[in-house]
Symmetry: C2
Subunit: 320 residues, 2 copies
């Protein structure tokens, strides 16, 4: 059907290797011949078959990007940043969604192996051990997970959690609910770790939870019942669900309970009340992850990006 390198070679009476060189090493072929080949190629609509080329060169010039849930508005900016950065490096990014399922995640990685030059693994749900094993077959850069010897882009969640807790303490909150995320989430662990170190606060942990609005909605009754005056939620989606759930029980935010999320997604900015949140550097992370993959020959550089507290309307003084 589509023209191959042989068709082009035949069309202009030259060996296939010459055609091949015309595209991948133009300086090695006589300008006159080159233009003859290019003319014939253009004429037949020839495009090099990237998969076939990859077979011998070992490079596909594309990379995979795996996320747990593409519906989470946190990811699209990261994805777009990665795609843009990759495009600037002559690479293409293929995205896939695991539906929060570690088995699907593994299967997708296996599928990507040999079809991409590396995989950006964002907020993985697989165990470190499994990731290390899979890393034997394809280079990784992990985002929001620390694995020894593996290049990683981390967001300083602990710092963000600390800022958030200080903010709440400053508003007079002492009893604070911590609504964590799914099992296998490094982010969730970091948050809990940072919270556990905070002195003088009475923390109640809830989890694991789905990292979605449904998850927030579901824990709302428990959170309301536990007597906390403020909540630190795993992410903005959970925070929004929580606010919705509290509203359904006629509990006002921030009047009766303060809520802080993580991520700084767009819907949080449009919500009433506008969400106070710890902004995560998603765009920078997407860019960095691509660069790390391209630079590191698998070497374990680790980049940590800062987070920032953004105070909006969902937090206020504790009731006295």
């Amino acid at each position: 059907m589509a023209a191959t390198i042989k068709d082009v070679a035949r069309a202009c009476g030259v060996h296939v290797s010459t055609v091949s060189r015309t595209f991948s090493a133009p300086h090695l072929v006589n300008p006159a011949t080159r233009s003859r080949v290019l003319a014939a190629a253009d004429d037949l609509g020839y495009r090099p078959n990237r998969a076939a080329r990859a077979l011998t060169t070992g490079r596909t010039f594309n990379m995979g990007l795996i996320v747990a849930d593409i519906s989470n508005p946190f990811f699209p900016p990261l994805i777009k940043a990665a795609q843009a950065q990759a495009r600037g490096r002559d690479y293409h990014v293929f995205v896939a969604d695991t539906d929060e399922d570690p088995r699907v995640e593994e299967e997708l990685i296996r599928t990507f192996t040999k079809q991409v030059d590396g995989v950006l693994l964002c907020s993985p749900r697989l165990s470190n051990k499994m990731i290390e094993r899979l890393a034997e077959d394809v280079p990784f850069v992990v985002v929001n997970r620390r694995i020894k010897g593996m290049p990683a882009v981390l967001m300083n969640v602990a710092q963000g959690a600390k800022l958030a807790l200080e903010h709440l303490a400053g508003l007079g909150h002492h009893r604070i609910a911590l609504v964590s995320g799914p099992i296998g989430s490094w982010t969730s662990n970091e948050m809990q770790g940072a919270a556990a170190e905070a002195a003088g606060l009475d923390l109640i942990f809830f989890g694991p939870n789905q990292p979605t609005e449904a998850g927030g909605l579901a824990v709302a009754p428990e959170v309301a019942a536990c007597g906390a005056t403020a909540v630190l939620a795993y992410n903005d989606l959970v925070a929004l669900g929580l606010i919705e759930g509290l509203a359904a029980m006629e509990i006002g935010v921030p009047d009766q309970i303060s809520v802080i999320g993580f991520d700084d997604i767009l819907p949080g900015r449009l919500n009433r009340p506008k969400l106070t949140t710890v902004a995560m550097p998603a765009v920078a992370a997407g860019r960095m992850a691509v660069d790390l993959l391209l630079q590191s020959g698998g070497e374990g550089a680790t980049v940590t990006l800062d987070t920032a507290l953004i105070v909006r309307e969902s937090t206020g003084r504790a009731q006295t």
Copy 2:
């Protein structure tokens, strides 16, 4: 590095073809030999190289999915539905985002060619002519675009627009602004076409616009100035931006102006006021697109899915 079919063959003293058959035609190899091969393969951690296999078989068992803007909450449900459906058919879906740029779209399609068995083209921005040309190299299913002889999944936008206009007319609105989308959008054209047929209404067209909140925000002043009492927006994102922009000018929705969007995305349900919208069958479309790609040998079946008006809080009686 990774084990190849040859390593396995050597390891258990059989020819590579036998190993190959063990995986792709197990019934042709003696059970005893087969288990020996499987053991060796497992031992060496051998995985067939999908790209190499595709070279001879011509099938990759993966498909591409191209969207204009992955940040638009309209797409993730469609993407997830497509991925789930594909997974059930032993296929994998690779997603890519064009950033609303036709050139990027073309480049991505070219990249996908030969690396996937087909491409789902969602709300493309390329011209029909260009799409037809590219279709010579890779099978397509287009979503929200009608192209002769090409399988398509359409959403009945005209019907939805009609419902929306009737709803507004019923509330006493006569002067209605139509805020359209980007150039090259079939959806936008359908909306305009349907609107133009509506009798007894005074329509003012605004466009083209970016199909985002920024786009809605930007036209808000013009819309406010045109004297319309209601707006039909290209999609929910534009509608939300519009509401935001109107609010900044102290124009209340729905008290002073009614707003209807298209898509029924999640943020629209959380917004205050909750958005009245025409729900698009994104999930069904994702599923159908996959099936169409797998069934049709490129034959031009067209599926049209119904839309539905969902009345919430952003529309109300016209001021008298």
